[in-house]
Symmetry: C2
Subunit: 186 residues, 2 copies
DNA sequence: CAATTAATAGAACGATCGTTCTATTATGGT
DNA sequence: ACCATAATAGAACGATCGTTCTATTAATTG
């Protein structure tokens, strides 16, 4: 709601994604946001809450971009376009992998950060399920296909990140295509 | 070569995998290894090198376990057994995901840690390729199947980690099975 | 046994970083 | 113009943690 608060969340989003959670401090975030240190602590009680805000900030843009894909076709393309988005992001953002997976990896103990990461992944599962359903797959098939598509998406980002090579995303897309053809809908 | 050095690497492996790279300090590692602080710094110049040793220590056990799988069958089973190993590890180790992926995620800047993580992933790619080749797949098919199988393995660990649910591994295994049937070898 | 080396416990340093505090300055509403 | 609130710059504190140092004790070898 507050403009400053959103500036901080956006700056944290950019900075933490690019350089990691441990190595970028509060001072870097306030500098990037163009905001004073005291202002940050007026909006957030501690750094952990800034990280949570950064994750939520990213997810908002994430889901918004997925919802309003203009070029998304029907049928299998409704699913395969998810891999194309992944390719776009890998180029734009420098290929630093999944922000939420990295957040979870950095914070082993349970807590709000793990909760946000888990919630995001569950949202992705639902999104896949919905698209399969809308594209005409039967319920029995969607419940079987959804986890497989999800695993391919997760693997695509992870592999592109560690290998530093976007070709893994294309391989995942091909596998998804084959999967969807093997269990056709409509 | 040195026993102490190996103790330290093993302790770091266990501790860092369980609790993460940032949140466990040198003091915790020496305590777990049953070794004095000075001894650690006689064997390693800095913490980063301890982390590298921990990664290499894990990879040694990792590859050793994969090489001498007794129950690994021929054909498609040579590949599918990789997913079964993953299931075992997810149970034994508490499901904290891929150590190497997490190491890369925690260290955004290039350096020895990223190098070890990348080398491990490339080794996994070669392992998959070799198994496909030994199981009788033609070269043109192995080069197409290898990245897809790799992405499924990566996605399986990542998804099981973030969701806290081993069922994702089974979904990946099923998808791999289907893929191997669609492009049969032998 | 002697002598060199490795290992130990623990104090101490230095840097980083999250967080708080103070004093000053801009901002917005009535 | 006035007042309350928010924002700013920057100093300061406290804790953590990687690293070094010292003095003492155990282990090894010739």
């Amino acid at each position: 709601m507050s403009k400053k608060r959103d500036d901080i969340a956006g700056a944290a989003n950019r900075l933490l994604y690019r350089e990691g959670f441990a190595s970028v401090g509060i001072d870097r975030i306030v500098a990037e946001a163009g905001v004073a240190l005291g202002t940050l602590y007026k909006h957030f009680p501690c750094k952990e809450d800034v990280i949570v805000a950064a994750l939520l900030h990213r997810e908002a843009g994430y889901l918004a971009a997925l919802e309003q894909e203009a070029d998304r076709g029907g049928g299998a393309d409704a699913i395969l376009s998810l891999f194309d988005r992944l390719l776009d992001w890998a180029e734009e953002e420098g290929g630093n992998g999944c922000f939420f997976l990295r957040a979870a990896a950095d914070h082993a103990e349970p807590g709000p950060i793990r909760d946000v990461a888990l919630a995001h992944k569950q949202r992705m599962l639902r999104l896949i399920e919905n698209r399969l359903c809308e594209a005409g797959w039967r319920a029995s098939l969607t419940s079987r296909l959804t986890p497989s598509i999800f695993v391919l998406l997760e693997g695509a980002v992870a592999a592109a990140f560690t290998l530093g090579d976007r070709r893994a995303i294309a391989a995942a897309r091909d596998a998804a295509d084959l999967l969807l053809c093997a269990y056709p809908g409509e």
